[in-house]
Symmetry: C2
Subunit: 415 residues, 2 copies
C-alpha cells in the first residue's frame, strides 16, 4: 500500500508556517507500515490542485490532503476532490446540525451563509466528525483507491487522525501494525546504534527505527501481524532485549511520556521534593519541569542565579569558592546544589553552571563547558560536560543532562 | 519568475524530521518576490527524483533542491541533476582542497574515498563554498532555467542561502526587492488588521503581509524597485505610517531582533538591572530573557516560587495575602514584584502568577487567569489577563505579556 500527502495552503508556499502536519502524518503512516514516496504542497488554486491530485492518484493507493476545508471561497480542496473523483457534493444533515451546535457554544454566534459550505460532502463518502472545529473530515473511496480530506489546523487534524483515520488505514491492510517507543537518556546516538547493530542487521519483524533527540535516543519497535494481540506479542521480546541492553537508561516505553514527566512521577512515587539552581540555563530546567501538569506536588521553587552576587546571596556560595575556582567550576556547582537543598529544605536539588557563549570562553574554560551537580540526602554528585553547538544547543543539552543526572541519582538510591 | 522547491530525503518521508528548510526557503523566496506554486518531497530514489526534477523544470524557472549531497551512495541529488540537465560531473580542484582542509581541522581525521564524491560538480556549474560542511552548493544554468543544489542540514543550508543564493536570485530579476519587518507587541491580531485595513486595501508597492505570533503581530513591508536604494525609499513612508498608527507598540523594525533582545538592550541603555519572580510560568520568562547573549549585564537573578511557602520564604509574600486573596491574585503578584526588587536590590522586577491548568481552576478563578506585575522605581503596575488554550499556550502567552508590560513600564518612565 502506497500513501501520498498533499498539503494545501498558500501560507505553506509563503513560508508563514512550518509543515508540521506533513511530519506528523508521515510518522503515523510509517508506523502503519505504509510506503510513502511523495509529498506535495500546493496553493488554493483549482488547476494546480486538480493536477496534483490526479498525479497522486495515478501513482498511490491512498492520498491524504490536508487544508483548504474552510468556509471561504478560497477553500477548494473538497470541491476539487469531488470533481476529480466524480462524486458530486450533497448536503449532509448531520454535519449541518454539528455546525449549528458548534456556533451555539462558541463566542462567535453568527453563522454566515459561507458556513453551510462545510456541511456539503461528496455523495457516498464517509464523513468524520471534527471535535475541534466546523470542517468535517472526509474519506472518499473509488476504484480501490482512497482520498482522505483533513482540516489544516493541527489541533483539528491530529485528534481526527488519531481517532478515525489511523484505525481506517490500519483496516485497509491485511496486517495490523503495533509499535512501542523505547526512550533512552544518558547515552549517545552512535553508542546506542553500535549496541543494536546486530539487531538492526537481522531485523525483519519487528523492525527498529532510531530517532536522535537532544540528549536522548528513541527507538521505535514496530511489528506487523494478523491482529494487534499478535503484533504486541512480537514486540515484547524485542523490547525486553533492549531493556537488557540499556537497563536504567530506558526511562519509558510509552510514546506520550517525556523525560520530565518520568522524573516528576518518580519524585511523586518516592515522595521527594525538588529545587533547581540554574546559572547558564537561566530557568530552562525549571520551565521544562513545570511543563508537567501537577508538578507542584514535588517541585516547590527554583533559583536563577545568573550573577556571582546572586550565587552568594541566594545560594550562599562562598566568596572564596567563586574567587579561587570561578563561577563555572565543580566546586560552585556542588555548593549551589547542596545549599539549594538546605536553604529550601527540599530533598533534592539540581544545579547547572556553565558557559553557554557565544562570549565568555577562555582556553581553560571554553564555551560549552558545563558543570551539573545533584544533591540528594546530603550526597552530592557533580559531572563535567563539554557541549558542542551554539548558545541554544548548549543550554538545551545542559537541561537534558541535568534531568538525566537527577533521574540517575534518585534511581541509584537504595534506601 | 516562478520558483519551486524539491526537498530530498527519506527522513522527511518517514516524518523523522520537520521540513523547516522548506519554510525557510519559501519565506526567503516570498521576500524576493518570486512566485512559488509547488513544493515536493521525494526520497533518495533515482527514478522518482529524476521524474520530480523534470516535472519541476517544465513548470518553473528556478528549481531549488535541498538534501542528498552527502558522501554516501544513497546521496543522488547531484548525480540526477547532472543527468537531467546533461551537464556531466567533473572534479573541482578547489572543492577537493576545501574538503582536505575541512578534515584537517575536524575531529574525524580520516578521509574515505566516498568523500571525494563531494568534489565532483556538473561541468560549467557555479560552485558555492560550504562554510559549515564538505558538500559545496551548486548552481546549474541551462536554457534560461536555474537548478540550485543545497546541502540538507539547516546549519549549512541557511548561511549558504543568505550569503550566495539570495543575492544570486535577486540578480536574476529585473527588479530588486527590499523589506522591513515591523514587529508589534501588546496588540491583538484582529485589532492590528482592522487598523491597517485601508492600507491593505489599496496596497500595490510596497505590500504588507501580516504574521501572527503568540502575543505579537509582525508586519512585513516589501517593495520592488530597480535597485535597493529605490526599494528602501518606497518602504520608508509605509514604515513611518505604521509607526504613526502603532507607536510604541512597535518594538523593532529589524527582522533579526526579538522582543527579549529589545528589552535587554533597553535595560542596558537605561542601565537598569532586572529580577524575575515567576509562579505558573515556572522559569520560562527567565529562560527567554537568558536566550539573549550578554544578558548578564542587566539580568542578575530570578525566582521560581511555585509553592505558597516559596512565595513566603523567598519573596516575603505575606501569609495573610495568600490566605485572604490567594496565590493567584493581583495582591500576590504585586508583593512578588515589589519584594523581588527590594530583596535583590535591582531596579525592576516582573512577576507572574496564574493558573496554567489543566487542573486547579475554579468558577471564580478559571484556568487561564494570570496576574502580571512590574515594579520599577517603587511604582507597581499590575494587570489581569485571561488566556485561552492549553497549559503550554497559557504559559507562553503569559511570558510574552510579561515582556510587553516590562517594556511598557520602562518606556513610560520619564525620569
Amino acid at each position: 500500500m502506497v500513501v501520498e500527502l498533499i498539503s494545501v495552503g498558500t501560507e505553506l508556499l509563503l513560508g508563514n508556517i512550518v509543515n508540521t502536519n506533513a511530519a506528523y502524518l508521515s510518522r503515523k503512516c510509517a508506523i502503519l507500515g505504509l510506503s510513502m514516496y511523495h509529498q506535495s504542497v500546493v496553493g488554493d488554486n483549482e488547476e494546480r490542485l486538480s493536477d496534483t491530485l490526479r498525479t497522486a492518484l495515478d501513482r498511490s493507493d491512498v492520498v491524504i490532503l490536508s487544508g483548504g476545508l474552510g468556509p471561504t471561497k478560497d477553500d477548494l480542496t473538497k470541491e476539487i476532490a469531488a470533481e476529480v473523483l466524480e462524486m458530486p457534493l450533497v448536503e449532509d444533515s448531520h454535519s449541518r446540525k454539528r455546525i449549528e451546535e458548534y456556533f451555539k457554544n462558541s463566542q462567535f454566534k453568527i453563522i454566515t451563509d459561507n458556513n453551510w459550505k462545510q456541511a456539503m460532502v461528496p455523495e457516498g463518502s464517509i464523513v468524520i466528525d471534527n471535535q475541534n472545529g466546523t470542517a468535517p473530515g472526509i474519506i472518499m473511496e473509488k476504484n480501490g483507491k482512497s482520498v482522505i480530506l483533513l482540516p489544516g489546523p493541527p489541533n483539528e487534524l491530529v485528534p481526527m487522525f488519531e481517532n478515525d483515520i489511523f484505525p481506517y488505514l490500519n483496516k485497509l491492510q491485511p496486517e495490523t501494525i503495533s509499535s512501542s517507543m523505547v526512550k533512552i537518556c544518558g547515552l549517545g546516538e552512535s553508542y546506542v546504534e553500535t549496541q543494536i547493530a546486530d539487531l538492526i542487521e537481522k531485523q525483519s519483524n519487528p523492525t527498529i527505527a532510531t530517532y536522535a533527540k537532544t540528549g536522548e535516543v528513541h527507538l521505535r519497535v514496530t511489528a506487523k501481524a494478523s491482529d494487534e494481540k499478535e503484533a504486541k506479542k512480537l514486540i515484547k521480546p524485542m523490547v525486553k532485549e533492549l531493556k537488557n541492553r540499556f537497563g536504567n537508561n530506558i526511562y519509558t516505553t510509552d510514546e506520550a511520556v517525556s523525560l520530565e514527566e518520568t522524573i516528576v512521577n518518580l519524585l511523586k512515587e518516592k515522595q521527594l521534593t525538588l529545587t533547581t539552581a540554574e546559572s547558564c540555563t537561566g530557568g530552562m530546567l525549571a520551565a521544562r519541569l513545570t511543563n508537567v501538569p501537577g508538578v507542584s506536588e514535588v517541585y516547590k521553587q527554583g533559583f536563577v542565579t545568573y550573577s556571582n552576587r546572586a550565587k552568594r546571596k541566594l545560594l550562599d556560595v562562598k566568596k572564596n569558592t567563586l574567587k579561587d575556582y570561578g563561577a563555572v567550576s565543580d566546586k560552585t556547582a556542588k555548593e549551589m546544589a547542596k545549599n539549594g537543598a538546605f536553604i529550601t529544605g527540599t530533598d533534592v536539588c539540581v544545579s547547572i553552571t556553565g558557559i553557554a557563549g557565544p562570549d565568555g570562553g577562555t582556553p581553560e574554560k571554553p564555551v560549552g563547558l558545563v558543570y551539573i551537580a545533584c544533591c540528594y540526602n546530603n550526597r552530592i554528585t557533580v559531572n563535567e560536560y563539554h557541549f558542542k553547538g551554539g548558545r541554544a544547543k548548549i543550554r538545551e543539552n545542559a537541561v537534558v543532562r541535568a534531568l538525566t543526572l537527577l533521574r540517575e541519582t534518585i534511581l541509584e538510591d537504595k534506601d
